[in-house]
Symmetry: C2
């Protein structure tokens, strides 16, 4: 094997493929260089002057190492891994550190199995992190539980690249026994542990790091980036749909630049399709003044170093021939993508076929609720002063306001106000749990809307001003096996988009799914959802009890800062 | 285990040891910070404000991660690993990537066994590279041979950290079958391969790299550094005794700085004692204008990253508590060295005992030569125009000059000229081989001097102007079991220093060995060896057939550039 590479490198034989006359990024020296890039099998064998069996003129292109997404939940695209690949590979990404935290919360390790198996036939390397926090908190009902023993049993398996983001930072800091078992299990087999520690500082951060946790993608201030980098963490520059921290790049200095890496975390299909993936992040970072090669380094070599991916993320002899040729370092318009030495996308279109997509029983039929009636959404209160959740525009952080509601006939009537009923209906274990809250400022009126995507336990998030419509919405979601729904209270019509894989992702092709999703989102806006919110996806974070401040779980209203339940009444 | 760290990090319990009020280097951000450094067991658990069971005031000190030598042959110190540790640990080095290439060339893997075993009782982590090129070239007689099959058998063993410097770069570039077997064996178990490719550029360098070789410590120009770094190599900034390339640090830029690492390669005990180890390199680099924290990063984090040493080389929670507290970042005078969380050296003195040193039969009695007589050093020539080797001052590169010698009585008489007889006497297999050459400009007169240290096969290097003295010198080396000798042709006296371990190292303590070595070196200078040369150690490179230009082997005169033997007559 080496012989083949060496002979081609020496020009004794022609290379398989040569990218001729390329300008290419040298991420080791932070420079652009010129030359031919010679490829044999899946390896780059040389840069310089080469001839190939196949030659592609790259004189008008700039060749970069293909991008590596340092942390992503495929599920957030609502697409199967195959269809996800059709959107990101043509943009220049050929490897991802994937944490199937969402589908595992619904389906257990069958979710991991599905993601791996479904990724096998697309030109995208999926390094699968075993989700560490299933459920994310002990306070809610998820579809599966991976306790310390389960993690210890699974993490040694070759299929698991590392341990996924350790969201339960209070558990680490407080030395929860089950948490420590998980961490020790990962260490004992030398696997990397991803972190998640928003606004954790000082000696609490030290304690969290003593769990042996390596990364953080939740930094929102430059001070936070600086402290975390200085304490040895790799910090992600995140470019998701709801959570975008490209501003973290402002913390880059010559001295620390190796420790910052790009990721998308959660990014919707529509954004991937219309704006792009890491290419979009690069475009924005460079527009914002960052040196292009430095930006590219954060999306390539730095990620590879962080995750110990050898011979990846640079253009050099013996390194993996995963490359993207872009029009220039302003647009980052991917003209050609090469994976393992072979062209896999051209002019933004995949050259691979995903019409046959893998499916498994283990991830289907996951909406398990009993009969739901309008009465289930009656709010019985003692007073009329309540805590209402609010949501920050363009983020996932929620706030809390005390408001006055109108009570009548033993229920609350929110019609005609800026307040909505917000409910979480348990959908995994038929517990009948319905968590109830109020939600202020979203704008929706005249019915109900709901979704089976609700980080991280993915119960049904439902909001509305009409008990009847709320019940109809849940029953519709049950019928379609998961997805998004709007029940129009006036017309009685039900509008749905099906997400049959774990209630999170669609087994359909990206294009038709997006068309239908767009229509449903428009319907939501037409019923009043303010344009500053992502009509459905903003809801998906309302039960994420690891992000401040107030969240709603199937088990009740949750105060993240106190890390315990709180009463709905003020 | 984690619980203990986490609780101390949170300040629920006192740390074992706290370095109070330290200024410390943050090598992630390239900054100095202030705070207490808390240690539990062998780990740093926090930086900030801490209390400890033991506290050491560091308010007047600067604490750095302890240094890691990226590439060193312990044998070049002529000391046992234990005594070597007494010199480098108090200077701040607590880990080394050790390539026991020399002793393995003499004793085979018994040499590796010895180095590992002898290192066990000193506070120095020895990552042992399995020597890849034993012998360094197929042209000479060494004490052992490790062929492809031997490497394939040995490299999977846990004791071997990686594959040692691949000096046989022509073998790689020419796809020698045995060479490829070695490289493939190392790859198949995912172990790092160190490089050695002086002045290899362009597509030949590409070919060498396609052997999957990661590092190079032979760069002598900034262009060479730049090309090698740009092609993915880690490049060493070397501070040996004979080979010093601190100038490579001039190639450091903000973009490439992670790829340069410090090493010493070959450093004599006298230099270690008098000038220092990596501390001396740091001192000089900073004096030469390099930012101190950046320099320290090249001796710590960068080395750890290059060799995949996790949680080493920085001061951060969960990282190994290997630290050195220096007086300032100009002198780098090590006041306190901490290894695995415990003080191991103070004010330049070791706090560990090395009076009991390990020895094994496998490395003793290694000078195996038959009877040697004065006639063995008769030079029979056809003409009087000969090639004479020259040596560059302060380096290991040799040159070639054509000179005229005086022939008489069927021998060459060099007495009273600037030319010496230079011979290599085989000492491993009793072959009787004696390679003969001429050596110009060294200055020695009136006898013979010899040494059993001769890279890389370690036959006896002998020079002189007196056949009788040359024979006596060899016989003396045989008698003492290896070492250094001067046979005074006038007085008939024999002066020796014994190197009983493989003929390379002494089983004695560092101090008495150095005293005697110094006396012998002085004797050599008194007999004319120019002060610009290291009287004995400069000789040790005269048979190193992987460094240009002309070398002498036990099998004859060797032209490194043609990579073949050449006639002594011009």
């Amino acid at each position: 094997m080496l012989e083949k590479y060496i002979k081609a490198a020496r020009r004794e034989v022609k290379a398989d493929l040569v990218l001729k006359n390329a300008t290419y990024a040298d991420v080791f020296c932070g420079k652009l260089r010129k030359g031919d890039i010679a490829i044999v099998d899946e390896k780059i064998v040389g840069v310089g002057e080469y001839e190939g069996e196949t030659e592609i003129d790259c004189s008008s292109l700039t060749v970069l190492p293909a991008y590596i997404d340092g942390h992503v939940h495929i599920e957030s695209s609502q697409l199967s891994p195959e269809e996800f690949a059709t959107l990101i590979v043509p943009r220049g990404t050929t490897a991802i550190i994937a944490d199937p935290h969402e589908i595992t919360n619904v389906c257990g390790t069958a979710g991991c199995d599905y993601i791996l198996k479904a990724s096998e036939n697309v030109p995208l390397d999926v390094m699968l992190q075993l989700p560490s926090c299933v459920p994310a908190t002990p306070f809610e009902t998820s579809g599966a539980v991976l306790n310390g023993k389960d993690i210890a049993e699974n993490i040694p398996k070759e299929r698991y690249f590392g341990l996924g983001e350790f969201m339960n930072y209070p558990g680490v800091i407080n030395c929860d026994g089950d948490v420590l078992q998980k961490l020790e299990a990962a260490h004992s087999v030398g696997k990397i542990i991803d972190g998640h520690a928003p606004s954790v500082y000082g000696c609490e951060l030290n304690a969290y790091l003593c769990g042996g946790i390596s990364t953080d993608h939740e930094c929102v201030t430059l001070e936070e980036v600086e402290e975390k980098v200085s304490k040895g963490m790799y910090v992600h520059i995140r470019h998701g749909s709801s959570t975008r921290n490209l501003g973290n790049a402002k913390a880059l200095t010559p001295a620390n630049m190796r420790r910052l890496i790009l990721c998308t975390d959660d990014r919707h299909a529509a954004d991937l399709k219309e704006k792009g993936h890491l290419d979009d992040a690069l475009r924005r970072l460079v527009a914002d003044g960052l040196d292009p090669v430095r930006a590219v380094t954060c999306a390539t070599l730095n990620v590879a170093e962080c995750y110990g991916l050898k011979y990846r993320g640079a253009i050099a002899p013996f390194w993996l021939a995963d490359l993207v040729a872009v029009n220039n370092l302003k647009d980052f318009d991917a003209k050609l993508v090469i994976k393992n030495g072979k062209p896999v996308a051209k002019d933004g279109k995949p050259l691979f076929d995903t019409s046959k997509r893998y499916l498994s029983e283990g991830v289907l039929n996951t909406v398990k609720v009993g009969e739901i009636k309008a009465e289930d959404f009656v709010y019985k209160l003692n007073g009329n002063r309540v805590k209402a959740m609010t949501i920050e525009k363009g983020g996932v952080v929620t706030g809390c306001e005390t408001v006055t509601v109108k009570t009548e006939n033993g229920d609350v009537n929110v019609k005609g106000t800026d307040i909505l009923k917000l409910a979480v209906v348990e959908r995994h274990k038929m517990t009948g749990n319905i968590g109830k809250a109020f939600f202020k400022g979203y704008g929706f009126k005249g019915g109900a809307m709901g979704i089976t995507v609700a980080h991280d336990s993915h119960n049904i998030i439902l909001l509305g001003d009409d008990n009847e419509a709320m019940a109809k919405a849940v029953n519709a979601l049950k019928e379609i096996g998961g997805g998004m729904v709007i029940a129009d209270g006036e017309t009685g019509e039900i509008h749905t988009v099906t997400l049959d894989i774990g209630g999170l992702m669609s087994s359909r092709d990206a294009e038709s799914l997006q068309r239908d999703s767009r229509a449903l989102i428009e319907k939501a806006h037409s019923m009043g959802v303010k344009r500053e919110y992502e009509a459905f996806m903003s809801l998906a974070f309302l039960s994420l009890a690891v992000i401040p401040k107030l969240k709603i779980l199937d088990t009740g209203l949750f105060d993240v800062e106190k890390f315990g339940f709180t009463d709905i009444e003020a």
